[in-house]
Amino acid sequence: MKQSGNILFSGVGGQGILLASELTAHAQLAAGFDVKKSEVHGMAQRGGSVEAHLRYGEKVYSPLIELGAADILVAFEILEAVRYLPYLHRDSAVVVNTQKILPPAVALGRATYPENILDELTARHIKVVAIDAFAVAESVGELRTANVAMVGAMSNFLAVEPEVFLQVIDDTVKERFREVNKKAFAAGRAAVYA
């Protein structure tokens, strides 16, 4: 089992990144690791780029991931995957939701949304797993579980058993949303090798 690691979450304010990173942190805690997680609140939540850094290991000091040191990037939007390129290394895995959210300059017609931008990652030998998290969430009947589907997809790259995540969902999610979130996790996990 990997003894330490760095997971970066990125996306746009309001996409459910905090919940996804919380689930992952709890799973790592349940697996016996020390964990630190860094978030940004305030101005950054008004529809801007948001990120959460999660680090786990026997003893974690810094709450921030170094450049070139993210083992996994969980990106909730395509541009927000590529924006964090300096955090990645050649053996990083990027789990990316194929949703596109237009940045203001694009919505105003003053810039274009770059085409096939994920190729920039694969060209650098970075492993990219693209998931339509909304389609996965829709398949389990609740669009708002897209973030948990992303956690499911990401879990393939962790040594933590999926049962640990399911237990965390049992322990932390309100009862009426538990089953659908567990389904979303499983469907997201299965989507990687579909």
């Binding site: 997680k37 609140h41 950054a44 008004r46 170094e66 390129l85 203001p104 919505a107």
Partner: protein, 603 residues
Amino acid sequence: MAFENETKLWLSGNEAIALGAWEAGVRVASGYPGTPSTEIMGNLSRCEGVYTEWAPNEKVGLEVAIGASFAGARALATMKHVGLNVAADPLFTAAYTGVRGGLVILNADDPQMHSSQNEQDNRNYAFAAKLPLLEPSDPAEAKQMIVRAYELSEQLDTPVIMRITTRIAHVRGVVEKGTRSATPEPSIEKAPAKLVMLPGNARVRRVAVEKRMQAARDLAETLPENRIEPGTGRRGFITSGVPYNYVKEAFPDAPVLKLGMVWPLPEKMIRAFAATVDELIVVEELDPFIETHLKAMGIACRGKDLIPNQGELNSFIVRKAIAPETVGEIFAPLELPMRPPNMCAGCPHRGLFYGLSRMKDVFVSGDIGCYTLGFLPPLSAMDACVCMGASISMAHGMAKALGKQGEGRIVAVLGDSTFMHSGITGLLNMVYNGTYASVIILDNRTTAMTGHQDNPASGRSILGEAAPALDLEALCRTLGVKRVTVVNPHDVEATRKVLKEEIETPEPSVIISRAPCVLLPEEVKRKKPVYCTNLDNCTGCSLCVQMGCPAISWTPLTPEEAVARGYREKQKGFARIAEVQCNGCGQCACVCKFDAITKKEAK
């Protein structure tokens, strides 16, 4: 959601500090919201046996805490770094009176300015005000350290500053559980020679301040929070706060002197540590605070010649600054369209700023809040922003400097909470000394930017209980403003008319732009209509797009595509509303002249 076992909890730094304050037996806490400090008071308000409140500003908050301390209770004032500027007046003199119950000022700095207008280093206040300052490195330590801060405050008869930064406030980690200490019951006890700071008494207390700082200096030598972590190699580090973590990550085997109390410094301990290494490096965020004082002691060290004095540090920056040969190559960032924050879909401020954006000759003196985003394109309708409440006084100063040529061209814009924080005195000044400038109060019924805290105009206390709500119109009239107009900013046309008329009026006038923040829970729950685009009618005029609503986007068209869609060949594109994002404010429908935006009623 909470990880919890018999002894441990998973908490953010702000949650940990609230819990630590509760365990320390704090009875009274007052503060003003400010990122990254805000959640401390919110969390503390849910603890048993502590009175908490949102004060109108940080000066009031600290004075409330001083009063509680004078009554013998352990007291807490919370604020962000710039809030301590507002509270600096009571701070410097509370340093003379000292305390009865322990008094802690929890100050949150924001290196990198994630959500701030400057990145001042408030460790300098400890030096200037002659107060002890503690600085934790992570949430677990923050929780323990605030308990120590109360012990020191009472032992040394002094307020104590605890300084955190964003990477403690908003970092989550595992913390140890504790129990609440018993503290003495509050009571009235008169001590005028100590508490009445007129010159005769203050001169006596001035001497006491120096004695106390000497006692603090002696105590620093054995304080467990100041510790030497032995290591190997001839290079040693002195560090404190969050940067301690970066040193431990970058140079795990090096000897480290970790300072938990950053002022006053343990000089003997520092000298002893310096003697054990050949090269001494101070790693600290922002100013060379420790470094400067080490150099004043005559201790040779390096610091800001290696480590940046701007922005947030991390282990990569520390490693690269000190041992560049150990840093590998990094993928360079790509040029991508930026994604700055934006006002929300349905934000009432947008309607107001849209009106101002159409008045190109008008100088908009702005202020601190969500509405500062009115600066960003496409609205680009803010021309200055300095500090809380400054919009009004700056507008007054501009008008006085410009005289006749500024008439009808100067307007101040600030939020309801910011107005109550420090705008009221500015408005009083305008009336007293006369002006032609106008003031717009954006009254969205909450303190939105920091996460919807209640305030004196919201009608609710920090606990959500009914509270008297300030009548803004009546207050402005009482201050002597004769022209007070209330507008609904979602009615874009009516708002523009009022703006024009009031800004042109050569006497003080206040426009209250009133509509609730769309993120308030009751607004989120409310059934709202949705607006949709009738694409056949869109002429591509782009007026709605120019409002910068995140729910509206522009699709460019080539002449062939335009013709294929049945548009004129010259039409450059069309606008479309993403209905899932629409919050139903209807501002875009107000500006559309071609009947291309229509309302669908809520189901």
